[in-house]
């Protein structure tokens, strides 16, 4: 919008002298692109690339998964790396901006010559990067993108998490069987493929179980005001609301729903997994439930040991689901690299595809024929500003 204002006014102003200057700039740009920047990786190491939302709207996702990944790579390096070499992680930030992923993944592949690309949590940006990795035949492993379309982009694209049909179905079953709800509204984001996917599979299962979805509303990522949608939902008289969005919006949605007098439970998926969610919603998050990949309250010994090592590395921070997925993403990659015996993309791809019963902290991970991980989900209940591990749902 802004730019169009400038350019439409500007086109009248480009005189011949300006044109010359413009040509000069273009020539300079071409010259600069000609000289290749040297990669900063130390010699004789295996370079792997990560792209993550370290800043911006979904920053806590990127930061958490990045911390998990770094811990995973560091631990692998401490025990001798892989193939007799150290692994060097190149991290790029996409600023939670759609479109940016394409640029930085191209950069990782052509400039840094990475052997594999690890990343994104947000499905939208994984969907942007996947075709590029597929075309260049560089294996890509997403730690946490749950939209089914991601791995359908090609046989070089993998993920270490479950997918939306499972997550949406699990929440629909939970709403119907455990919370005994029959009339539920769906409020999803129109701009996030993740949200649309979850909403779709939730609705499919909930209707199949005999439930009713009288109203369906949509918002755009970045919206702050949801009173309009929530007022319409309140008028529809529902027993619960399924809000499969990301935490920055869902936190505000919870607060505004309670403010409008909606007491029904709100439910969602792993997009809620952030400390900011509870900060934004506060007491409004009481009586809310979401499905996710892992809980630090899980008493399994490998999980508790991971929590301790993570806290030691990252100033006492407790790893959330995205951190655990990042850690498992690094683990699956290193494991496959060792089995592949070389950094040849084809061999590496085959080794990742052959991953079986890898003992991850987010559950035992097997890569299925469609390159998705088959693993359980957990359901978390929010109450008094805290999250509680409620139950595990098997695949």
């Amino acid at each position: 919008m802004r730019l169009s204002v400038v350019f439409s006014a500007g086109s009248e102003m480009v005189h011949s002298s300006h044109r010359l200057a413009l040509l000069g700039t273009l020539a300079l740009g071409a010259a600069l692109m000609g000289c290749r920047q040297k990669s900063s990786a130390p010699a004789n190491s295996i370079v792997v690339g990560e792209f993550a939302s370290l800043t911006g709207k979904e920053a806590t996702f990127g930061q958490s998964s990045n911390e998990g990944l770094i811990l995973g790579i560091e631990e692998a390096n401490a025990t001798g790396g892989a193939l007799g070499k150290q692994i060097h992680l190149v991290v790029e930030d996409d600023g939670s901006t759609n479109g940016e992923a394409i640029t930085i993944v191209k950069k990782l592949i052509s400039r840094d010559h990475v052997v594999a690309v690890l990343g994104e949590i947000a499905s939208g940006r994984s969907l942007e990067a996947a075709p590029i990795c597929q075309e260049e035949k560089i294996p890509m492993i997403s730690p946490g993108s749950t939209n089914p379309a991601v791995t359908q982009k090609g046989d070089y694209i993998f993920r270490v998490c479950f997918i939306d049909p499972f997550q949406g179905t699990a929440m629909a079953k939970f709403a119907h069987d455990q919370l005994h709800l029959n009339r539920v509204a769906v409020l999803s984001s129109a701009t996030a493929p993740y949200s649309a996917g979850l909403a779709h599979y939730f609705e499919e299962r909930f209707r199949a179980d005999g439930g009713e979805i009288p109203i369906e509303e949509k918002y755009n990522d970045g919206d702050k005001d949801f009173r309009a949608e929530l007022t319409a939902i309140k008028a529809a008289n529902v027993q619960g609301i399924f809000v499969p969005g990301y935490y920055s919006e869902v936190g505000l949605i919870c607060a505004q729903a309670r403010e409008l007098g909606i007491t029904a439970p709100l439910m969602g998926g792993d997009g809620w997994e952030s400390p900011i969610m509870l900060q934004l919603a506060g007491a409004a998050a009481d009586n809310c439930y979401y499905s996710t990949h892992y809980s630090p309250q899980n008493t399994a010994p490998n999980v508790q040991s991971f929590v301790k090592r993570f806290q030691k590395r990252w100033n006492g921070e407790t790893p959330d689901a995205m951190a655990a997925l990042g850690y498992d993403c690094a683990g699956v990659f290193v494991d496959a690299l060792k089995r592949a015996g070389s950094t040849d993309p084809q061999a590496l791809r085959d080794a990742i595809a052959a991953t079986k019963n890898y003992p991850g902290v987010t559950g035992v991970t097997t890569i299925g024929p469609d390159r998705n991980a088959v693993k359980p989900a957990v359901i978390i209940e929010l109450e008094h500003g805290e999250s509680h591990f409620l139950q595990t749902v098997a695949p």
């Binding site: 007022t231 319409a232 607060a255």
Partner: protein, 296 residues
């Protein structure tokens, strides 16, 4: 009917914030004839000043809420004056296009230095004002919504008084009408322009606090979308006209809310901008704007 009234109320409180911001665009356009794109980021700065101020103040009291709002208004007024002094004044005799591009530059500078200093993750804005929900029949009215509407109304009346009842307001109108003639009769143009920026930015600061108390997630890019909408509101109402900006803000807020509550909810932004196009087709100078031919 209840739903209709509730949506109307939601729309008015959203529109009131757009109105506050739109007035800032209109004020600057009035004296300098360019769109100050950095305005939306001054709004963001107001919210962040409020966030830091809120750390030292007891929450949930009207006194501290107003004190923080005052602090944000003074802070953003100074920021607005600084932007004018260092970015726009050196370009006073340059073509408007240069100033416009500089404004976009300042806007990006503020947004990304904000990301550098405040971090990009959304922060929770502390509850400054005490909150209560009133139930009138089935209608829920929150004190935040009343506050937004009340403060906006008071500030608009105050602004109209300054512009039409004071000497400095007369000078502002003179500069707006003809800067050269104004300086010939002894008006210090630089001082008036500086004052206009202070005034507009203070309104943005107040808007930032109100917006953040209503939607308590603030981040350095929070101004972008409301800023764009407020710009639309200003053009919709007739750029350069203060009542027009207020009306434009309300119209936009109400339309957005009604579309948002319907089955077309995902298209609410598209509707807001479509209205702009339709109104400009039939009334090119906006709802309350005066028709005049611009010399290019």
């Amino acid at each position: 009917m209840i739903e209709f009234l509730q949506q109307l109320l939601n729309g008015i409180s959203l529109g009131a914030i757009y109105a506050l911001l739109a007035i800032g665009y209109t004020l600057v356009y009035g004296v300098l004839r360019f769109i100050n794109f950095a305005h939306a980021d001054v709004f963001m700065a107001g919210a962040f000043i409020g966030w830091y101020g809120g750390q030292f103040m007891p929450s949930n009291s009207i006194g501290s809420g107003l004190a923080v709002m005052g602090m944000a208004m003074v802070g953003t007024a100074l920021l607005g004056m600084a932007i004018e002094r260092f970015a726009y004044r050196p370009l006073r005799s340059a073509p408007t296009l240069n100033v416009l591009i500089t404004a976009i530059g300042v806007s990006l500078l503020l947004e990304y230095s904000g990301q550098k200093f405040f971090g990009a993750a959304p922060r929770h804005f502390p509850p400054l004002f005490p909150r209560r929900d009133f139930n009138v029949g089935h209608l829920t009215v929150s004190s935040d919504q009343l506050l937004v509407i009340g403060v906006t109304a008071v500030l608009i009346v105050l602004l109209q008084t300054i512009i039409y009842r004071t000497r400095i307001g007369t000078a502002m109108r003179a500069v707006s009408l003809n800067p050269r003639a104004a300086s010939l009769v002894g008006v210090n143009n630089n001082r008036i322009i500086s004052f206009t920026f202070a005034l507009g930015s203070a309104l943005a600061g107040a808007g930032g606090i109100l917006y953040a108390s209503n939607y308590p997630a603030i981040d350095p890019l929070m101004g972008v979308m409301p800023g764009l909408k407020a710009f639309v509101a200003a053009v919709l109402g007739g750029i350069g006209s203060i009542p027009g900006a207020a009306l434009g803000g309300l119209v936009l807020g109400i339309v957005e809310t009604f579309v948002g509550g319907s089955s077309l909810s995902s298209g609410k932004d598209a509707f807001a901008f479509a209205i702009l196009i339709v109104i400009l087709l039939f009334r090119p100078s906006g709802l309350l704007g005066r028709m005049n031919v611009e010399k290019v």
